[in-house]
Amino acid sequence: MPVFVAALAIQTGEPLDFSRDVRPILARHCLVCHGPDSSGRKSDLRLDDPHSALALRDDGPAIVAGRPELSQLIARVGSPDPDERMPPDDRPAVSAAELAILTRWIDEGAKYGNHWSWEPIAAPAVPPIADGNWCRKQLDAFVLAALEKRGIAPAEEADRATLLRRLSFDLIGLPPSADEVAAFAADTRPEAYEEAVERLLASEHFGERWGRHWLDLVRYAETYGHEFDYSIDHAWRYRDYVIRAFNTDVPYDRLVQEHVAGDLLSAPRIDPATGLDESPLATGFWCLTQGTHGPVDVRQDELDRIDNQIDVFSRAFLGTTMACARCHDHKFDPIPSSDYYALVGTLRSSRRHMTYLDPGGQLELRRAEILEQRRQLEAQLSLDRPAELAAPSAGDAAIEEFAQAIPAGWSTTGQAFARSASELSQIGRAADGVLLKSPSGVASSESVAPAMQGTLRSADFRIDCERIVIRACGTGCRVQATIDGYSLHQQNPVLFEHVFASCESPDTWTDLNLDVSRYQGEQAYLEFIDDGPGWIMIDSVRRETGATSAASATGPARTPLVELSPGVATDLASRLDQVVEPASIGAPLRAQGLLEGTASDEPVLNRGNHRTPGVTTPRAAIASVPVGDLPTTGSGRLALAMNITSSASPLLARVMANRIWQHLIGVGLAATSDDLGSMGTPPGNPALLERLAAEFQSDWSVKNLVRQIVLSSTYRMSSRVSDPRAEEIDPLNEIPHRGRLRRLDAECIRDAILVDAGTLDPAVGGPPVAIHLTDSMQGRGRPANSGPLDGDRRRSIYLEVRRNFPAQLLAVFDQPIPTTTVGRRNESNVPAQYLALANDPFVRAQAAAWGAALAGDPARPSERVGRMIRSALSRDGNLNERSAMMAVLNGRNADPAAWQELALALFNAKEFVLLP
C-alpha cells in the first residue's frame, strides 16, 4: 500500500518520489476527474500534468511548488467544509497520512516525473554496505543497504533441508527425493548448494514449472468455455512450446517476439530434436480466448475477444492495463483510447489459423519433388493448355476469378494448393483411374497431390450481397466464410450451416452457396480447406442478391485425354499414381496460430460501441507506452513485436524481472506484478528492481536471473519471524528482511503426492490427459467420458484444461480458471482444501499406492518411517514425529493399510503444503 511505502521513505529521510509516493495517491483519489481522460475531466484541471496543476486559476493554482499553504490542492483536500472538500463524498477520502505526503511533496518543490515504470532502466550502482560478509551476489547489497539504512539485520539463513525443498519446488515444481534429501544432508561442502542449483536448472522439469507460471499469464486453456466448452484443437502444442522454450532458455525478448509475431520473424528458431521451426507456435497464445456459441452480434463478439487479447498482451508483457482504454482514455495512466484501437487494428488485420507445421521442411521437399516429377510427366505429353475449359466470366458480380491461380491479396498455407499458375498441373486422375486434362484459370489443390493438406484464403471483403456463390469442383474439401473473425462454424453447424459448404463434385462444376444475408456490412474472408485426402478447384467467386441466377455451373471440369493411346494413358496414369502415392506424404503438424490478414486501420469506438465509430487510428502505433519506433508493415504485428522488445522499452525487462522475483521470493518487488502502472503497487525496494531489470535486459536469460536470485543470501533467508522491530519497520517484508512462508501451488501439491507415492510418470510433453469427471462436474459440454482418476500419473501441467470443467483438486488450491492474465495467484486457505486432502479419491488412492509399496519394503519399519518423512517433508523427522508414526503403525509392519494411514497423515500435514 502506498502509505507503507511512503512510510519507508519517510523513515530514511529520502526526498519523496512523485511516481512512487505521490502519483498513487492522486490516482486513487483525484485522477478520475482530474487525470488523463479528457472526457470526464472536471474544472479543466489535470493534477498529473504540471502544466495544468501549476497554472494560475481563479482561486489560485492547484499547486504552488514549495508552498503547500498557498496550494489549493492542500486547502481543498484538507478543508473541514464538506462542500469545499475534495474529493467529493462518493470518492474514497484522503487519509491524514496521504495528506501529509502531498504536503511534503509540494514543500519539497512539487517535482513531477514520469511514472516510474515508464522511465528508462537506470542500472543503479551497487550501494556501499557495512557488512560485506553477508552478501553472496550483487543483489544482496541492494537488500542489505536498504536494511542497514533502517537499522535492521537480515534474517538468519534457513536450514539446509528447508533450502533444498524450497529450491526444488521453486525450480522444478517437485520435491527432492528422499535420497536427494539424504545425500544433500550428508554433503556439507559449500558447493553442494550450487551444484543442486545447476542440477535443477538443467532438469527438463524446469520448463514444466516455469512454463506453468507462463501459462497463467496467457490464460492457457484447451477449450473455449462458454455454452458448450468446445475444444481448442491442438492447443497443447503451444503448451509444449512453452515448456521447451523455458528449458532451452530462449532469450526472453525472442520469446515475446515469437508470441506477438512468430509467423513473421525472418530467422526461424529450429528445435534440433525435431527440425521444427518453433517460432509460429507461440502465436497460438492469441487464440486462447473464450469462444461464444452463436453470437447474435458477431462484430461485438469479435471486439470482446480482441479486448481479451489486448488485456492479456498488455498486462502479460508490459504490465500495463491497456484494456482500460477501450471506452475512454485511461483514467490513471496516460494511455489514450487511440492506443487501444491501434492494437484493435493490428488484431483485426490478423487472422486465427490452424497452422500447418512442417518439421525439417520434409513436406516442402516432397512437394517440390512431386511438382518436378509431374512436370516431367507432362513434358512427355506436350499438351496445350485446354482453352476450351476456361471458365465463363462471372462479370461484375465476381469477387475473384483465378487467372493467376492465387489472386492478389489471397494467400495459401500448407502444401496442397498451387502457388502460381506455373504450378497448376495439366493432368489429373479421375476416381475410376482415367487420366484427365485439368483446366487453367483456377485455384487448385489438385495440382500437387490429394494427400497434401493446405488452405487457401481470400482477402477481406465487406459483405454487400445475400449470397456468395462459388463455382468449384472437387471432393473432400470445404469452404467457409469467416465473418468478423468468428470461426466456430464447425462446432456450431446448427447456427452457422449457411456459411460453410462441403465440395463433393469431382466430375462437374458445382455452385457452392453461402448465405451471408444476415451479415450485411460485416468484414469477411473465405477459406478453402483441403485437409487431405481430397482436392478442390475453384473457378470463380460471385456475389448474388435476389433471385438465384441460372446455374453457371454445369459441365465437366476436366476432360479425358482422348488423344492418348490406351497403353500410353495407362502407363502415365500409373506413373502419376506413384508420384502422388499417399503413403509417401506425411501429415503436417497442426497448431493454433496467427496469420496476416488484410491490413486496415480501425476507428476509435466511442464508449467502446461499434455503432459509434470515431476517428481512425493507425494500427500498431502505440503512442503512450515507451517502445521502439519501427514503422508498421502489414498488420503491424512484426513492428509491435520488435518495438516492445527494443531497448527503448523499459517495461519488458522490468515486468519479467519482477515476475521472476515473485516466483522465487513469494511476492514481486512491485506486488501487483501484472500492473506496474499508477494503480499498481510501486516497488518497496526500487533500486533492487532496477538492478535486476538491467541485468535481465543485458542477456534476456531467465535461467541466469533465476540463478542469481537463488544463489543469493536474500533467497536463503529463513521465513521465521525473529525480529519484531523488523516486522514493524518493514511490515510487508518488501525489502525483504526475511523469507516468506508460502503455500505450494496446486500443481506442486498434486505432483508431490505422485512423487511420494512413487507413481509419477515423469514424461515431458504430449497431448493432454482427459479430465477426470466427478458427479459434481455437470453441465453442457461435459465430455462423454471421464479421464483417469490418477491423470495417468502425469504431472498436473498435462491434465486437460477444460474451462467449464476444471480439475477439482487444482481449482480448490487456486489454479485460476483461465480467462485473462493472472500473474499472481490467490493463495487461499479454505476448508475445502482440507476436505480434499483428507477425502479426495485421488489422494486416498495415492496414499494406498504408497502404503502398499512400503508394506512390501524389506527395510526396518523405523527406516521406512524415516524415509517417508524425508520424502514428504524433505527433512529428517525428529524423535517425536518418528515415534508418533511408529505408534500409529503399532507393529502392523507388513500391513498396507497401516502404511497408508501414515501416508495419508503426511499428505494432510500442513507442512506438506506450506513451504517455510
Binding site: 467449464n804 483428507a838 525428529n878
Partner: protein, 456 residues
C-alpha cells in the same frame, strides 16, 4: 475467535492489506441498518417467458397468429414466426391484485409478498453471456459471481458452513461453474456446490469403505505433526490459520449432515414444500427450497438454487414446445417456492431474507417456428420478496406486446445495486483491485431502485 475473524470481511481486508493490495474500505450502508441479512436467489435457468408468467398482454390475443407488428431485433435462431399469444390465463391475486398466470397457482397465493419488475433488460441474447452478466455484471467468464461479492462484502455468519452455497438441482447453467465463481476474489468466496441429496458436499466424508478408526488415527497423527510444525515455524500466522481451517473442515463433516437431515422437520412442512409430490422435479426443488431455509437459519449469506431437470425440456429454454416445457418447469418450482416464502414468513425470517426469482432473459412474444419462443433480453420480468422490498407491487412495463421495456427500463446492474443496498452495502464502495481497476459487481453502472423498497 480466529475462525469468525478469518471468514469475515475483516479478515479479507486484513489479508489484502498484508499482501500489499489496495482495497476500498467498505462503507456498510453509511450507517443505515440493512434490511436484508441474506439472499436466496432462485435462478430460473434458460429464460422464463415474461408474457406467460408475470406480464399479461391482452393485446397479444388480437395479433395472435398474425405477423408481429413491431420491428424486431435479430434473435439467436432467426426463425422468427408470427405473434404468439400466451396459452395461459392471467388473474389478479391478493389484496394487491397482482397479475399472475396459471403457471404459478401457488406463488400467486403469495402475491402480496412479491415485488415484480416487468422492465428488466439484459445486454446479451446468448445464454452463456447472459448468465455471466446476470451473475457477475459482465458478459464473459472471469468476474466474481454476486454470491461471491456478497460473501466478500459481508463475511459469513456461519462458523461451520461456507458463506456462498449453491443448491444444485441438477442443471449447472451454461457457462459452467465460472457463472458461480469467485473470479479474482479469494477462493474463500467461491460457491460451494451442494446437491440436495446424499451428503451434499464433494469430499465431505471419506470414500465408502474407509475405516473410521483409521481416519481418526490419521487425523490425530496429522495434528501431532502440525503441532510440531507450528512450533518450528515460530507460530507463523499462515500455519495457525491453516490448522484452523482444517478444524473447520472437520466441523463441516458434522454440520453438513446435520443440515441435510430433515428428520426434525414436521410432516406438514415437508408436504407444504412438496417433498412427497408426485412429480420428481418438484420433489427435488422442494428439497432445495427447504434446505435453503435451513441454510438461511444457519447464517449462510448467499444461497442460490439452480433448476432441476424436467424430462424432455431444456431448462426454461423453450424454443419449441412452449406449453409442455413451461408447464413442467413451473410445476417443478411453483409449490416449493410458495412454501419457502410462507415458511420464511411464518418463522419471522422473510423480513431479513431477500428472495430473488430471475432468469437470464425473457422470451419473444412472437413465435420461434410455431410453438416456441426465442431469447428476448429487451424486456422481461423478475421478482423479489422479503428482505426490505415492497410486497404486492409492480414496477416498469414492457410495450403492449411485451417485447421491450418501455416504462422505467432497468438493467441487471440496477438489480445488483439494489440487492447490495438492501444488504446494507453501497455498490460503489464494494470494490477489489484487479487488472489495474477497482472492480465492482456493478462495473461502472447500477442505480439503486428506491421505489422497489418497502417504506422503512
Amino acid at each position: 475467535m480466529l475462525l469468525s475473524c478469518m471468514s469475515g470481511f475483516g479478515a479479507v481486508a486484513f489479508a489484502a492489506m498484508a499482501r500489499g493490495d489496495t482495497l476500498s474500505v467498505l462503507a456498510a450502508g453509511g450507517g443505515r441498518t440493512p434490511a436484508a441479512r441474506r439472499v436466496i436467489f432462485l435462478y430460473m435457468d434458460g429464460g422464463p417467458s415474461q408474457i406467460d408468467t408475470f406480464d399479461p398482454k391482452p393485446a397479444l390475443e388480437k395479433w395472435d397468429g398474425k405477423p408481429f407488428p413491431l420491428p424486431r431485433e435479430r434473435t439467436q435462431f432467426n426463425m422468427d414466426g408470427n405473434t404468439l399469444a400466451s396459452p395461459w390465463k392471467f388473474a389478479q391475486h391478493g389484496q394487491s391484485g397482482l397479475w399472475v398466470s396459471d403457471l404459478f397457482p401457488h406463488v400467486a397465493t403469495c402475491a402480496d409478498e412479491l415485488c415484480v419488475v416487468r422492465s428488466m433488460t439484459s445486454k446479451f441474447s446468448e445464454h452463456t453471456n447472459a448468465n455471466y452478466f446476470l451473475h457477475t455484471g459482465a458478459g464473459f467468464a472471469g468476474r466474481p459471481s454476486m454470491g461471491a461479492w456478497t460473501s466478500y462484502g459481508l463475511g459469513n455468519e456461519s462458523h461451520d458452513l461456507p458463506g456462498f452455497v449453491v443448491l444444485n438441482g441438477g442443471l449447472i447453467p451454461p457457462g459452467g461453474i465460472a457463472v458461480l465463481g469467485n473470479g479474482f476474489l479469494p477462493a474463500t468466496h467461491q460457491a460451494s456446490l451442494m446437491r440436495p441429496e446424499g451428503e451434499g458436499l464433494a469430499n465431505l466424508s471419506p470414500p465408502e469403505g474407509a475405516d473410521p478408526a483409521a481416519d481418526a488415527r490419521v487425523r490425530q497423527l496429522a495434528a501431532q505433526l502440525d503441532g510440531q510444525f507450528l512450533a518450528r515455524s515460530g507460530g507463523a500466522e499462515a500455519v495457525e490459520s491453516a490448522i484452523a481451517n482444517c478444524e473447520l473442515a472437520f466441523r463441516m463433516q458434522t454440520a453438513v449432515p446435520e443440515l441435510m437431515d430433515l428428520v426434525g422437520e414436521s410432516e406438514a412442512t415437508k408436504t407444504a414444500y412438496g417433498l412427497d409430490h408426485a412429480y420428481e422435479p418438484t420433489r427435488i426443488f422442494a428439497r432445495q427450497c427447504l434446505l435453503a431455509r435451513r441454510l438461511a437459519e444457519r447464517g449462510v449469506r448467499f444461497i442460490e438454487l439452480t433448476c432441476p431437470v424436467t424430462a424432455g425440456n431444456d431448462r426454461w429454454d423453450q424454443h419449441g414446445n412452449l406449453r409442455k416445457g413451461h408447464e413442467e418447469n413451473s410445476r417443478a418450482v411453483d409449490q416449493p417456492i410458495a412454501a419457502l416464502l410462507k415458511d420464511l414468513r411464518a418463522r419471522g425470517m422473510l423480513d431479513d431474507t431477500l428472495v430473488v426469482w430471475a432468469g437470464e432473459f425473457g422470451r419473444t412474444p412472437f413465435a420461434q417456428g410455431t410453438d416456441g419462443r426465442d431469447h428476448n433480453p429487451f424486456g422481461f420480468s423478475i421478482w423479489m420478496a422479503g428482505g426490505g422490498v415492497r410486497g404486492g407491487s409492480v414496477h416498469g412495463a414492457t410495450d403492449d406486446l411485451g417485447y421491450k421495456a418501455v416504462d422505467q427500463p432497468v438493467e441487471v446492474h440496477d438489480l445488483h445495486a439494489t440487492m447490495l443496498h438492501l444488504l446494507g452495502v453501497d455498490h460503489t464502495q464494494l470494490t477489489h483491485l484487479f487488472g489495474g481497476r477497482q472492480m465492482r459487481l456493478t462495473d461502472v453502472h447500477g442505480k439503486v431502485q428506491h421505489h422497489w423498497l418497502a417504506a422503512s
